[in-house]
Symmetry: C2
Subunit: 368 residues, 2 copies
């Protein structure tokens, strides 16, 4: 009889994000208005598409295991050395490397309850123990609560998504600098900046390449390449060398490398996506006001709308799905009374608004 | 001061495969005749390219985390259930899952010294201990030696690449059935069938979905999609559920899923690649005969040519690189006296033959 290792057997079977493809199968639908995964509704840069199209015939070649050209371009962008950059198949991959490298079995890792859950998936998967701080009631990250726990427990990793998912809220540079400066010196600061491209660069932490911090970026959001699976970590040379000992050297799609490089060269496209995304947020704010609902001010490509209770928010997500509109909602208090809707094209926003109004109007009294 | 976990610190920094992109940088060349990584010289199926081209604009969507459509198609091909299939970003990824799931720190894993090294990379990376059997002198896998060690040491995993890389040799169905039947019941048989598409299906192990075996397949070789990073494991439902607890759910490129599905629907293309590959092998055999060199009979898309000594083989690889032809060579005896050249197009074979003849003619006497 063959059994997995005790460590792997101890991992509970969890249902990760249910994908829209599975929801479509279950509901018999052939399409959905996809507003549930914070994918870009504005697609990849046409320059990236052209570069990838031109190279598809050479997809029989492995990608460069060192992503040399892409790391050179990213080093120029972030004013660092290519030796301070690890490429991964999305932030999820880089995050897994950080947890595997720095969280020993039984060690602790600190996060905010209800924030991006894949960090937790990795911590549990590598036998770590999770510590949680709550969100503030207003949906912002409680940096003071995180700091208090960090200073008491000295966790191996302190994880922060900033801008945050699923709240969309953001802590500015000075607050993050104070936070990082006050962390215990043996805690690694794992800063998930998936949505940083939607923020004015002056409000972000400047480049810092210290053994105590790993910052993660992605081409999945503003660059519109979620399906390519390509992201990266900015870290010290020593940390990148550590990742080099455990990463999947041939894990990155060759066309993802080529598309990412071309996308970096099309800043005008990325700027347009950021502007379009701001318009989408404004539409959602206006819709919420029209319907007498609150919402969280977002610095990302999604907005959380307050439905007043978790039950009501869940009912709205389910009813929208029945009308062919796919969104998600946060799972843990205090955010679980919100629904989260991704920035769509104007057409997708109209479809959402129409379905959302109808769902709210039809919501049974007991769900109010 | 932040340090990696003791387990990760203990992993030696190794140089994995050096990619041709790095060799090009170091040598200042803008192109190489790529015959070093057993990539398909015949590209991906035009149907796969068409399907991927049509979907590039939707690369802003994440791929389906469950690869539902692809697993359905693979289940039909392998006469099994989709619940018996795990999709990974290449065999390397699936192999990492198997090692992580079944090789506890300090446990042993058995392989052949000098065969595909990424298995070793994972075993060392997860704190396992490697046991080695040698190749037979004729370059075939020594199944008896592997069995003797397996029965004595009861390793957590017994790894076999069949057809083998880098030798290109192959053990037929009856030998593999006897081997699997004689393994200790607590050893997992990890069967790497990356090159199985080049073999007559009747010579392969028939479908078997037992907790004691994981078979791995890929779209990187006959399907010509190495750059896509997509492969899969065929295993028991229980093992697939175990992988589900630790795999990167959003690790697969969406276009890789789409291309793989289209490639499965183009058997005629795959058949043509297999025929072209056989012609390439014949060319290499004839070239070796012409030059008075031996070679190993291959069932794969590469051929090993005998240079008589490791020094001479190394010199030939280096000299070919100086002439713009990139091949590799096995690193461990008894295969280290061979060079390994991948099946190229007729044009690439001519370029190789010309450079190979010139290199041999120019080889200094002390290397003979």
């Amino acid at each position: 009889m063959i059994r997995p290792t005790p460590a792997v057997e101890a991992i509970p079977a969890t249902v990760p994000f249910v994908g829209p493809e599975q929801l479509m199968r279950e509901s018999g639908r052939s399409e959905l208005v996809r507003l549930g995964a914070n994918e870009s509704a504005f697609g990849p840069s046409p320059k990236a598409v052209a570069a990838m199209t031109a190279e598809l015939a050479r997809l029989s070649w492995y990608g460069d295991p060192e992503s040399l050209d892409l790391r050179d371009a990213l080093a120029a962008k972030h004013r660092c050395s290519p030796e301070q950059i690890t490429i991964g198949s999305g932030i999820d991959d880089v995050m897994g490397l950080a947890v595997r490298a720095f969280v020993a079995p039984g060690a602790t890792a600190l996060t905010t309850r209800g924030t991006y859950p894949t960090f937790n998936y990795h911590v549990i998967g590598y036998g770590g123990r999770l510590l949680y701080a709550p969100y503030c009631d207003d949906g912002t990250l409680d940096l003071d609560a995180l700091l208090a726990i960090a200073r008491r427990e000295r966790p191996a990793i302190v994880y922060l998504a900033n801008p945050d998912n699923p709240s969309g809220t953001f802590a500015r540079r000075d607050a993050i600098e104070r936070f990082f400066g006050a962390l215990p010196h043996d805690s690694l600061f794992l800063l998930d900046e998936a949505y940083a491209d939607f923020v004015d660069e002056n409000h972000l932490l400047p480049p810092v390449f210290d053994d105590r911090i790993v910052r993660m970026r992605t081409f999945s959001k503003a660059y519109g390449m979620a399906g390519a699976r390509i992201g990266y970590g900015l870290a010290s040379v020593a940390t990148v060398r550590t990742f080099q000992k455990i990463r999947l050297h041939y894990g990155i799609n060759r066309n993802a490398q080529i598309g990412a490089l071309a996308a970096l060269g099309d800043e005008a496209f990325c700027d347009r996506v950021v502007r379009e995304t701001a318009l989408a947020r404004d539409d959602y704010y206006a819709l919420a006001r029209e319907l007498g609902l609150g919402c969280l001010e977002s610095t990302t490509n999604f907005v959380c709308i307050d439905l007043g209770s978790a039950e009501r928010a869940t009912a709205v997500v389910n009813d929208l799905l029945e009308r062919g509109v796919w969104i998600r909602k946060p799972g843990a208090p205090p955010l679980d009374r919100y629904v989260r809707v991704s920035a769509g094209t104007p057409e997708m926003r109209r479809a959402f608004a129409q379905a959302f109004r109808a769902v709210l109007a039809a919501l049974p009294v007991e769900a109010l």
